[in-house]
């Protein structure tokens, strides 16, 4: 196995550890907020726009720590593929593969732009 394969494998193992860590946060958060929330589907039958920042502020005021921990776990999980692409770009730069590094950077920019759409709309 060459150096490049070893690096790729390290990146993937990092992803697996990341999934476990985020899973732990999600499980703890869900467990903590489970008792307080007896009918979670009641408010989700119809769609209403309530952005993340407002939700976080509301849960912080209500000291709903379980929800906040679950949100942290979800944020870690969503950011894992972004970190993976970033590490791949670094790997290509290290290997002096300019074109592949540029393509990886385009994917990374696309991901960031896509995230921003959630703030705008």
């Amino acid at each position: 196995m060459n150096n490049s394969n070893i690096m790729e494998l390290k990146i993937s193992k990092f992803l697996r550890v990341g999934v476990v860590i985020s899973g732990i946060f999600i499980a703890i958060g869900w467990g903590m907020s489970f008792k307080a929330n007896s009918d979670p589907f009641a408010n989700l039958q119809t769609y209403s726009s309530f952005n993340l920042i407002d939700s976080l502020q509301m849960h912080a005021i209500l000291q709903n720590w379980g929800k906040l921990i679950a949100y942290l776990g979800l944020a870690i999980l969503i950011s894992l593929p972004v970190i993976r692409v970033f590490l791949c770009v670094l790997l290509f730069i290290k290997q002096k593969e300019k074109t592949m590094a540029l393509i990886g950077a385009i994917v990374l920019i696309g991901l960031i732009l896509s995230f921003r759409l959630g703030i705008r709309t």
Binding site: S12, K13, G29, F41, Y47, A70, L74, P81
Partner: protein, 271 residues
């Protein structure tokens, strides 16, 4: 109590998805909408989270088996990420009824594709872009290394863009489109296209999941049991795969998919 019921259902979804090579989205979205009456937008967002978890969790084992083509994945992710952006924007203007109709249509298409006789053709020469970027590679089969080339990269990129749109709108991994483009048009060996697709769906799902998350559509009360159940189910499915007759499960699942497709279309038509 109701959210506790979601856990075993998601474990089953992850288990079946893992055995049949499907994302959990095909199961999670209909269950959340048809059984629990959750708005389809929340169901789509919850499903995307479970896709990231299964794709990221499985990446190491596929890379270890030398089946994932990382360079090809990065190139094709340009198409899927920008497709996911378009899909997210498009989803904002689509009504729930249209989403149900799209999902029903996708299930029908997937069921038909599962009947398809699978071929595994090989490219004789690289497309110029594949040559320049070094996208050709090799994979192990029956104790020896099989070298392969990659053709029709532009068509692959366009297909990935479309796959990205469907992923964002319907909360699916779109693995079925990705594999069709890779082993159909680009003539990448089937084992490699499956592993590379699994590697890519996490990035595709992340593009739209990040936007849904910031918009507030990802609700921990449903996403938590779904994500945890899918992770556990996919892990159990991978362990059980050698001992299970996947062919008979596939036949049963095709019938279930057709029934669910009809239900989704009826719900879409009723508005």
């Amino acid at each position: 109590m109701m959210s506790l019921v979601l856990l075993p259902i998601s474990i089953i979804a992850g288990f079946i998805g893992s055995i049949l090579g499907l994302g959990g989205g095909v199961i999670v979205v209909p269950v959340l909408t048809l059984v629990f009456g959750v708005d389809i937008r929340y169901a789509v967002a919850a499903s995307l989270i479970s896709i990231i978890a299964t794709s990221s969790g499985a990446a190491a084992s596929f890379l270890k088996d030398h089946l994932t083509n990382l360079r090809l994945a990065i190139v094709l992710e340009v198409g899927t990420v920008f497709g996911a952006m378009s899909g997210f924007l498009l989803s904002s203007s689509l009504k729930s009824s249209s989403l149900f109709l799209c999902f029903g249509g996708f299930l029908l298409f997937s069921a038909v594709m599962m009947f398809r006789q699978k071929k595994d053709p090989r490219a004789e020469k690289n497309h110029p872009w594949a040559e320049k970027l070094g996208l050709h590679s090799k994979f192990p089969e029956k104790g020896e290394w099989i070298h392969y080339k990659v053709s029709n990269v532009p068509f692959g990129l366009i297909s990935m863009y479309v796959a990205g749109i469907f992923s964002a709108i319907l909360g699916i991994g779109s693995g079925i489109f990705k594999i069709m483009a890779m082993d159909g048009a680009m003539k990448v060996p089937m084992k490699v296209s499956s592993a590379t697709s699994n590697f890519m769906i996490g990035v595709t799902a992340s593009a739209s999941a990040g936007a849904y998350f910031l918009r507030g559509d990802i609700k921990p009360e449903i996403v938590s049991p779904v994500a945890l159940g899918i992770i556990l189910g996919a892990w159990l499915g991978a362990k059980a795969m050698p001992k299970i007759n996947a062919a008979s499960i596939r036949k049963i699942f095709i019938v279930v998919m057709l029934l669910v497709a009809v239900q989704m279309i009826i719900k879409g038509l009723k508005g």
